[in-house]
Symmetry: C2
C-alpha cells in the first residue's frame, strides 16, 4: 500500500466524459489498495471563459479580484470529480486550497507556496476518502485567495506530495512520457523510462513543456519521485528522480526552441564596464538573457550579442536605445529568424566528445552555428530558423540512432 498523489490538468477534465475517465483512473489506483490524493486544474475552457468575463467588465482588474475569480474554476472541477467518484461507488471529498492547507505569499496571480499544512488531508485519508484538492490556489496571511500562476497545479501536486511524504507524484498529461525529441517530428524519438531532475529542468527550459519548472525544482528539493504519464493510455510513463539507470545513453533529449530573438549591439567601445551596463539595464526590465557572445575587440570596438525570448524584443531594444553614452555610435540589430537547438543529458559531463559530435552532425548537413552555449548537462547552438528541424533530426540520429 502506498500514498500516491495524482495530478490532472484542465484538458483531462474538460467535460463529463473526461471527468469520468479521471474518476476511473483514480478509483483504479484506490482499489489497488493505495491512499490517493488527487490534484485537479480548472476544466478546459473555464479559465478562458472567466478571463473574458472579467475583461468585458474591466480590462485591468486588480490581481486580488482576478485570483478570486479564477479560483472558482478549480472549485467547479473538484466538485465534479468528487461526484464522478461517488457515482462509481467510492468515497470522495473535495477540498479548496484553503481547506487543504495551502499557505502562499501575497503575490496575487503568481503566488508561491510557503507551506502546506496537510492536517485536513491526512484526516480525510484516515477516513479512507479519496481526497480531491483544488490545484493552482491557496490563501495568504490575510485569508485572501491567491493563485499560483502558470503551471501552478503541478506545483500544488508536488507540494502536497512533499508535505505528505507521498511515495509517488503522478502527473497525468496528454503525452505518455518524456521523449528524446518531439515524437510528432522525429519518428525515431524514444520514450525515456527515467530521467534526472536536472535533465528534466533543462528540457523544460528548452521548450519541452511537459512539466512546469517550479514543480520539478520542488520535487528535486524534497526528493519526490515524479511520474509523467498519459491520462488515456494506461501504460507506465517516465519517472523523474535524482539518480537514474544511465542506460549507456549520453544524451536524453534533443530539443528546439523557436521562440528566440538575437540582439546584436555592434561597434561598442572596447572599454571596461560596457557588458555590466548593458546587462544590468536588461535585468532592471526583468528581461531574461540566455546565450551571450562577445566578440574580441578590434579597432577599439567590439560586438555584444545575446539571445532573449521573442516576447521581450521590444522591451530589450527600448532598454538599450539611448540609454548611456557609450552606445552612442553603436547599432542595435535584432534577428528573430533564429532557433536554439540543444542536447541534454547528465551523461555528457564525463564525455568530452559530445560537443564535437553535435557540431559534426550540423556540419554534415551544412548548418551554420551562430552562437554556442554549454552547461554540464546541456549544449545549445543558435542557428537559422529554417535549419532547425533538419538540425534536430541530424543530432537525434547522431546521438540516438534507431534501435
Amino acid at each position: 500500500m502506498a500514498l500516491i498523489v495524482q495530478k490532472f490538468g484542465g484538458s483531462s477534465v474538460k467535460d463529463a466524459k473526461h471527468v469520468m475517465n479521471v474518476a476511473k483512473i483514480v478509483t483504479g489506483t484506490y482499489s489497488a489498495g493505495n491512499d490517493v490524493v488527487v490534484v485537479v486544474s480548472a476544466q478546459g475552457n473555464t479559465t478562458d471563459d472567466l478571463v473574458s468575463k472579467a475583461k468585458e467588465i474591466n480590462p485591468t482588474p486588480s490581481s486580488r479580484e482576478m485570483d478570486m475569480l479564477m479560483a472558482a474554476g478549480e472549485q467547479i472541477s473538484i466538485a465534479l470529480l468528487a461526484m464522478a467518484i461517488e457515482k462509481l461507488g467510492f468515497p470522495a471529498i473535495s477540498l479548496l486550497g484553503w481547506q487543504a492547507g495551502f499557505a502562499t505569499n501575497s503575490v496575487y496571480s503568481s503566488a508561491r507556496i510557503k507551506f502546506v499544512k496537510p492536517d485536513r488531508i491526512r484526516s480525510e485519508i484516515g477516513k479512507k476518502n479519496i481526497v480531491i484538492v483544488a490545484g493552482f490556489q491557496g490563501t495568504n496571511k490575510y485569508d485572501d485567495v491567491t493563485t499560483l500562476g502558470r503551471g501552478g497545479s503541478d506545483t500544488s501536486a508536488v507540494a502536497i506530495a512533499a508535505a505528505l511524504r507521498a511515495d509517488r507524484c503522478q502527473i497525468f498529461t496528454d503525452v505518455d512520457g518524456i521523449y528524446t525529441a518531439d515524437p510528432r517530428k522525429i519518428p525515431t524519438a524514444r520514450k525515456l523510462d527515467e530521467i534526472t531532475y536536472d535533465e528534466m529542468l533543462e528540457l523544460a527550459t528548452l521548450g519541452a513543456q511537459v512539466l512546469n519548472n517550479r514543480s520539478v525544482e520542488m520535487a528535486k528539493k524534497y526528493g519526490i519521485e515524479l511520474e509523467v504519464l498519459s491520462s488515456y493510455k494506461g501504460i507506465p510513463g517516465t519517472i523523474v528522480k535524482e539518480v537514474t539507470k544511465m542506460e549507456k545513453m549520453l544524451v536524453r533529449g534533443v530539443t528546439k526552441d523557436t521562440d528566440v530573438a538575437r540582439i546584436t549591439i555592434m561597434d561598442v567601445p572596447d572599454v571596461p564596464g560596457i557588458a555590466f551596463k548593458v546587462f544590468s539595464r536588461l535585468a532592471a526590465k526583468k528581461i531574461n538573457v540566455d546565450i551571450i557572445l562577445q566578440s574580441v575587440g578590434r579597432d577599439g570596438n567590439k560586438d555584444i550579442a545575446f539571445t532573449i525570448n521573442k516576447s521581450s524584443k521590444e522591451a530589450a531594444i527600448d532598454a538599450l536605445s539611448n540609454s548611456f553614452s557609450e552606445l552612442e555610435n553603436s547599432k542595435i540589430n535584432c534577428d528573430t529568424n533564429v532557433a536554439k537547438v540543444s542536447v541534454v543529458g547528465a551523461g555528457m559531463e564525463s564525455h568530452p566528445g559530445t560537443a564535437a559530435k553535435m557540431f559534426e552532425a550540423l556540419y554534415e548537413i551544412d548548418v551554420n552555428i551562430q552562437m554556442i552555449s554549454t552547461s554540464e548537462i546541456k549544449i545549445s547552438v543558435l542557428i537559422d530558423l529554417e535549419d532547425a528541424d533538419r538540425a534536430v533530426h541530424a543530432i537525434h540520429r547522431a546521438f540516438l540512432p534507431e534501435q
Copy 2:
C-alpha cells in the same frame, strides 16, 4: 452617514451590463457618504449551468459536493462586481462566505445561519472599502462549504445587516416594491410605502414571492428595516418594518395562490381521534397543510377536507390510502382546480366587518366559496380556479378603490 446593506439577485448581475448597473447603484450610495456592504447572488444562469454539469456526471451527487459546486457561482459574481466597482474608480473587496464570517449548521443545500462573525467585514469598512459578500453560502463547523438553499441571499443580507447593526437593508429586485395586488393583473394595484413584517410574511406565504420568508422572519427578530426596491428605476421602494403609518388602509394586499390542491376524505366515521390520525400521518411525510375544514357529523359519518401545495398531492394521497382501519370505507378525493385568494392587512384585526366585506364582493360577482380560513391579519378563501382572477379584481376594488 449610514451603514447600508444592499442585496442584488442573480438577474440583477446576469451579464457585464447588469453588473455595471449594480456597480453604479452601489457607488452612488457610497458617494453619498455611506458605508456599503453588498450581498450578491450567482449570475443569472450560472446556477442552472452548474446543476446541469453535475447531473451529467451524477444524477444524485452528495449534497456536500453539490454545495461545493454551487458556491463557485457567487464567487464569480462577487469578483466581477468588485472589478466593476474598481473600474468606476472606487475601492472594493470581495469576500466569500467563510471570509465574511458566515457560520452555518451542516444541513448541506439548505443550511441555516448560526451566526455571522463580521470582524473582517468591519475591518474592510474601516479601510473605506465597499465590501462585496457572496450570498447564499457559509461554512459549517468542519470548515466545509454550505449553501443556504432557496432565497438564501436575502437571508445572507439580513443576517449581515443584523450582525453589523446596519441602518437599512435594501433588497434590489425586478419589481419596484410591494403592491396591493399583482400590478400586471390589477391595473389599480398600488405600491405600498410601508408594510409590517407580519403583513409581509402573510403576503409572501400567499404567493407574492418578492422576499424570502426566512429573511423577513430574521429581519423581524432583529428589527432590521428592509427596503424592497428596483435595480433599474432609481426610486424609493417599500419599507418593511415593525410599525407603519396605517394610512387608514384596512387591507395591504390581495393575493392569489393557484398552486393549491384540495384533498377531501369523505364518509369518515364520526369518532374521536380521526383528525389526529389523518394529520399526524401527513406531518410524518412533512406535508404542510393549510386550510382545514371538517363537516358536522351526520349518520355517524363526516367529511374532512384540507388544502396542500399541489406538489404534495401524490404524497398526501399515498400517506392516507390504506393507512388505518377507520378510513376503510372512506373515499379520498383530490381537486387541483382550485385557487386560494386572500386579503392581508394588520388593520383588519380591529375591523370586524372585513370578512363580510370580502364575502360580499365575491357574492356580487357570483363566486362560490369552498373553504374559509382566517388569522388576525389575513382572510383566505378557496374558490374555483377559473374564478380566481375575477375574485382578486373584485376584492381589490372593494378594499382598495381607485384613488
